[in-house]
């Protein structure tokens, strides 16, 4: 309901309260046990909001139920509720397709729990939409230091990763070699066991260091590139408010 209220923040308060109270009454009628079932049948709050907004605009209302009809043999009460909503929204009985605005509205929807803005004017006010515009001069100015700083940073990250990788691979090879060497010991079995054990430990270390080098390379490159791009986006784009 909070989400529905958020979606309908720009709708006439009186009409909004009427619509919401209708849905609240419907939930009260069904009870807590069937609440989830009713929610599933109604669909997302965005769809319900679109249905309400269409109804208020005087357009043919969209069907707020994206889910299939219930199977026979189920309890009648949710169906009756469903029918009553359908009658409210679609008195002609036409099966209109789901509104495409629902997806749009879902994308633009405020986060759940966010308090709605009071709208005393009573009419749906057109909020100015912030638009980002590229500033080419700043972009050129940004690219030069970004390349000068970025390339050495990337080279440093690569060098450190390669050093770790070489160390890891060397440890892997050393471990295998120590293990093989254990078979060639022609003395005490205990000495062979020492080599086997040592080989395993070195191999484990090599495995860890090799994977660490791969992870370091991937995450550092991604971090550096991502940082440069996000900084560039912040610096080179100007937010322009257009109604």
């Amino acid at each position: 309901m909070i989400e529905l209220r958020n979606y309908l923040a720009n709708v006439d308060p009186q009409a909004r309260e009427e619509a919401i109270s209708r849905y609240e009454a419907m939930f009260d009628e069904t009870g807590e046990e069937k609440e989830n079932e009713v929610i599933a049948r109604l669909g997302s709050p965005a769809r319900v909001a679109v249905a309400i907004m269409r109804e208020l605009d005087g357009r043919p209302p969209a069907n707020p139920k994206p889910n299939p009809a219930p199977e026979a043999g189920e309890d009648e009460s949710p169906e009756a509720i469903e029918e009553s909503i359908e009658e409210d929204n679609n008195p002609d009985g036409e099966d209109t397709p789901a509104a495409p605005e629902a997806e749009e509205l879902e994308k633009e929807a405020p986060a759940e729990g966010v308090q709605e803005q009071p709208d005393d004017s009573g009419a749906a006010s057109a909020q100015p939409v912030p638009e980002k515009r590229l500033r080419p001069f700043l972009l050129v100015l940004y690219i030069i230091p970004a390349v000068v700083i970025g390339i050495p940073l990337i080279a440093l990250a690569l060098a450190v990763s390669i050093a770790f990788f070489v160390g890891g691979v060397a440890a892997l090879a050393g471990g295998v070699q120590a293990f093989i060497l254990g078979f060639s010991v022609s003395g005490l079995i205990a000495d062979s066991l020492l080599l086997f054990g040592g080989g395993l430990v070195i191999f484990a270390l090599g495995l860890f260091v090799t994977w660490f080098s791969i992870w370091l390379c991937a995450s550092s490159l991604r971090g550096i590139a991502g940082g440069i791009f996000s900084l560039g986006r912040r610096a080179c784009y100007k937010e322009v408010r257009s109604s």
């Binding site: 060497l181 062979s192 066991l193 994977w211 992870w215």
Partner: protein, 63 residues
């Protein structure tokens, strides 16, 4: 990425613990690193290989 980390850590830990256990058994049954070094490692040429590898890494870093 996290899954691979988990797998690598688990495998490394298992191998390391197994290696330590084997070395512990070897130490209790009379294994000696000094003897192993004198009889096997110093004659196998593995130390020369390690030295070569280290000098190669040093060369790479200097380059």
């Amino acid at each position: 990425m996290k899954k691979v980390w988990k797998i690598v850590l688990i495998i490394s830990l298992i191998l390391a613990i197994a290696g330590c256990a084997i070395m512990g058994v070897a130490a209790f049954t009379g294994g000696s690193f000094t003897r192993l070094y004198d009889t096997v490692i110093s004659k196998s040429g593995i130390l020369e290989q390690i030295n070569e590898m280290l000098s190669y890494i040093q060369f790479c870093i200097q380059w």
